[in-house]
Symmetry: C2
Subunit: 342 residues, 2 copies
């Protein structure tokens, strides 16, 4: 298991994903504000991991609530802060909703008991995520053949979840089944999650891989060096439209053009049943420095203007199948998703 995030001694410990693979440094969060900032600054990232972090953040914040305060108002203040950390990942809001439900259902308990109950709920979310990822891995591995070369974009591995991974969990499960595979990891500019995090995980797991610049993926598909693509997701609407790391849409279009299967691997907590289509998903625009600087050094002229949308939306029509913990669904997603949830 990779040490993405942990509840330890009434604190939340996270590996600092900004420093990988060069340094393995851990960040200690003592209150919910520390957790909120860690999410905003991408100490931790990846939709399921953000969900776990948010749940831990609520539990941690509520643990610090003093007896003299209005605990409901304090709970609301914690929620409000965590809710505005990052706008796109569905799992953040899903986890906050679950913590809110736990808080409401246990209002009758004494404050200390309620605090314990919220910690237990957050730990449940973490543990469930590990199990869910293993199930996604099992279902997804059936789609991977011995000898396949698999493209992935960004990091949907153990670092993006409580452990094991979604897209990388599928790759990992296929590898654990003894299938001879190799991975092409898009470096994933601007934040380099592929070059830094996916490569670091694949290295630790002993799975053969190549890192490539994002712009090489299309050409390698055309040269028949890639057999399939698999990515994670930040938010999926019921029609199958999928928000994921910027560049995912391009991978999907290039896969379609080259008759290559394009899979999304995500837990059901990534689905947003309050929306209809991907057009309604808010897309975060992140700070310009992420594009203008690498390792703190300018790569553009100082005065350059940049765009930095952190996600894009891949229309369902480009997605061969979505791999969830309940099974693999194929278009039309409205129907197959509804069947799956019955």
């Amino acid at each position: 298991m990779l040490p993405t995030i942990e509840w330890r001694d009434d604190r939340v410990i996270m590996i600092d994903q900004r420093k990988l693979p060069g340094e393995e440094v851990y960040v200690e969060c003592r209150d919910f504000e520390d957790v909120a900032e860690a999410i905003e600054k991408m100490v931790i990232r990846g939709a399921p991991a953000i969900g776990v972090a948010a749940a831990f953040g609520v539990a941690l914040g509520f643990l610090r609530v003093e007896r003299s305060k209005d605990s409901r108002a304090e709970f609301s203040r914690i929620l409000t802060r965590l809710r505005r950390t990052r706008p796109t990942a569905r799992n953040l809001f899903w986890a906050l909703e679950r913590m809110t439900a736990a808080h409401q259902e246990n209002q009758g308990l004494p404050l200390d008991e309620l605090k314990k109950r919220l910690i237990a709920e957050a730990l449940d979310i973490e543990q469930e995520d590990v199990e869910i990822n293993r199930q996604i891995g099992q279902f997804g591995a059936e789609l991977i053949k011995d000898g396949d070369s698999i493209l992935t974009h960004c990091n949907a591995g153990g670092l993006a979840t409580a452990a094991y991974g979604t897209a990388l969990g599928v790759i990992r499960a296929a590898f654990e089944q003894g299938k001879k595979i190799r991975v092409f990891a898009d470096e994933t500019r601007p934040f380099l999650q592929g070059a830094r995090l996916t490569a670091w995980e694949l290295e630790k797991l002993g799975i053969p891989y190549f890192v490539i610049s994002d712009s090489m993926a299309g050409w390698l598909m055309r040269k028949a060096e890639i057999d399939l693509a698999i990515v994670g997701a930040d938010r999926i609407t019921p029609n199958g439209d999928t928000a994921n790391k910027i560049g995912t849409y391009s991978v999907a279009v290039l896969a379609k053009e080259n008759h290559i299967s394009f899979y999304v691997a995500a837990p059901l907590s990534t689905f947003d049943f309050s929306l209809e289509t991907g057009d309604q998903i808010p897309i975060e625009e992140r700070p310009p420095e992420e594009v203008k600087e690498i390792n703190g050094k300018l790569i553009t002229p100082a005065g350059a203007r940049v765009r930095n949308p952190a996600f894009d939306v891949t229309p369902a029509g480009y997605i061969t199948a979505i791999i969830t913990e309940k099974g693999v669904i194929r278009p039309p997603y409205e129907k197959t998703l509804a069947d799956l949830r019955k």
Copy 2:
């Protein structure tokens, strides 16, 4: 004019494109070996600029040939060295062929006269390139409308040519005509020609621009923020297949998917009439460090394996038109190109 390359006092001076935009440093080449290494190490890059550099390299090398040596054998030695610097750009071989023809046609001259003749030929190639770029700019500017947002990939500007630029020359000509345009410059990993060089040129020219990560281009097309795409070329086969910087193929596929015009701007010296289709174009694979390191610092695990194809081939079917110094040609390129050369 941008100071890409210059013949001065029997030396060749180039701006070091590896150091831009942070530092404006000039490299002085005293013999053809210096020029060959400058091409290999990408002190100078861009197909037309490589052609000019190669011509200057031949003239410089031949200028240093001593009276006691076999001047034909020396010429051949210079050619052989320069020919193996970079395999993909057609203009390199075109320029070497032209210098070879000048050498052969003037065999009757005394050695000192022959030396002068080769310098004159190289300077002609340089001057013609400037004029050709201006003509490409004029023809191409007609394809750009007032208010257009234009995507470009890599750098096909003054730095990629003797001066003015091909794809960026078209953008520049439209801007000089008073059209209100803005440019999206793909950063162009791994060498960052877009973030570093195209942005530097656009900044100097006062043309509004945004730098984006390569993986953002597709999404911005889908969001209707880009009206057309225009790129340079390293080698074009008579059927219109176009080798250009890695990532160009992806831009072309995404443009087609989003019903956006995709233009190639290149001089006729970029066409390779000895080949039939793009499948025959040799694609250079460059050193892994270009992908693994940025500014000399590792971004991947130390043991990571990478791929680094420097170019890809865009099939003619994705190319709306090719802009040459003789006019704009459209499919079927075999026919329109033949008509153009009549």
